[in-house]
Symmetry: C2
Amino acid sequence: MPHPFDDAIALAPSGDDTFTGRTSPAYANFIGPYGGITAAQALQSVLLHPKRLGEPVSFTINYAAALADGEFTAKARPARTNRSTQHWIVELQQGGETVATATVLTAVRRETWTATEAQLPEVPRPQDVARTHRSGVEWLNRYEMRFVGGHIPRGWTGEEHPESLSRLWVRDDPPRPLDFASLASLADIFFPRIWMRRAKQTSLGTVTMTVYFHADGAMLAASGAGWLLGQVRGQGFRNGYYDHTGQLWDEGGNLLCTTHQVMYYKD
Amino acid sequence: MPHPFDDAIALAPSGDDTFTGRTSPAYANFIGPYGGITAAQALQSVLLHPKRLGEPVSFTINYAAALADGEFTAKARPARTNRSTQHWIVELQQGGETVATATVLTAVRRETWTATEAQLPEVPRPQDVARTHRSGVEWLNRYEMRFVGGHIPRGWTGEEHPESLSRLWVRDDPPRPLDFASLASLADIFFPRIWMRRAKQTSLGTVTMTVYFHADGAMLAASGAGWLLGQVRGQGFRNGYYDHTGQLWDEGGNLLCTTHQVMYYKD
């Protein structure tokens, strides 16, 4: 049996610069798919592309419309290829309409001076933290989450809080060795910051997400199927849009990626 | 006399979805133009587009190659238009080759619940801080900068520092009323974080930058030609690429935008 994540990101070549995929019921959200899996599918179209040079360094996806359940087309085009870097433009389409756009920078990396300024915070180890309960929202069951701070509010009390920092241990469920696609999906793991600020339900959805990969393939492989510590906090909430900024480390304290996103909220 | 910034971002329509512009000697960097002005030019192609809906919410630019001095073409295409949001793909080209790619989300915003989690830090007022000296690098003379912390190292001593936080007051020189294009340019104002960490020169350049606009046009207009407080810090530095995360507020404490970028560094 393949892992449900591998099933979900499977793409079949269907022409020059073109792949066909399907939305995955295993990663269904309230409406349409979990944004992280759409991100992984978009990135996968570059990872599978025969012209790809190097590994992902940065990745931005813009969610243009809710995906309908079923087939989609991924068009991935190298807009510029240099000696050691390459710039990609990706469009996901359904019925000839664009549902997501993305850009990816891939690069051949060399060993250089290295430092981590955003350090793994001091937190309890994952085995000492309780797991969140299983959920009726399918994609949430594809990840094991153990919050060490900044839980989802227990009730929609409307009580406002001045800050929205959350930290959690997270990994695929069942565990799966980490790679660029799964890390891109994990970058979207954080529940909406506006829920922490307001304890109030409102229509919302991610409109854009960026992931900067600090890890290369070898470091991801070394992280294996282990726990990642995710940290996130909101920055500005204004007139229908807010942003958050986050980081993901492996248990050894390696900063694997940093990530930012903007969510729409209705009121 | 028009402001040099308005000269620099002037684009002439030259076909469907196409504009022609020129690099600006007033914003020249060591090699090629200042990345902020290229960002402003790319964003301006969307701002000037007759099909544009709403105002910029998020903007990502990827620097694919050094721009040569002279003409460039900006191709801006609405990939998806919804009722209140629109997704753009932009390519800047010279000699038929792509030199930058960008995506932009524009949206019609409505008044909602609003909060600023990333607060203006406590810093001296701009009039109480010394201005940095004028520079041989032309674009630096287009901005008045007053550092309140995290200055450029005084010498290339090679001494390493554990953190790279900088804060500065900044505005166009001569002052110019703020708008989306000038704010996009200001988002690239921060000198390389790796200089603070290492006090060592190395070849480097921005490869991608994202700006999330919290301000709408009315808030930018209200900020006028006043001072902005920029704050930035590095996160991870590894194998040729590092990222930073930053914020820009007006003097009244309004969070105008947040911004992130990845720079290449040679060793």
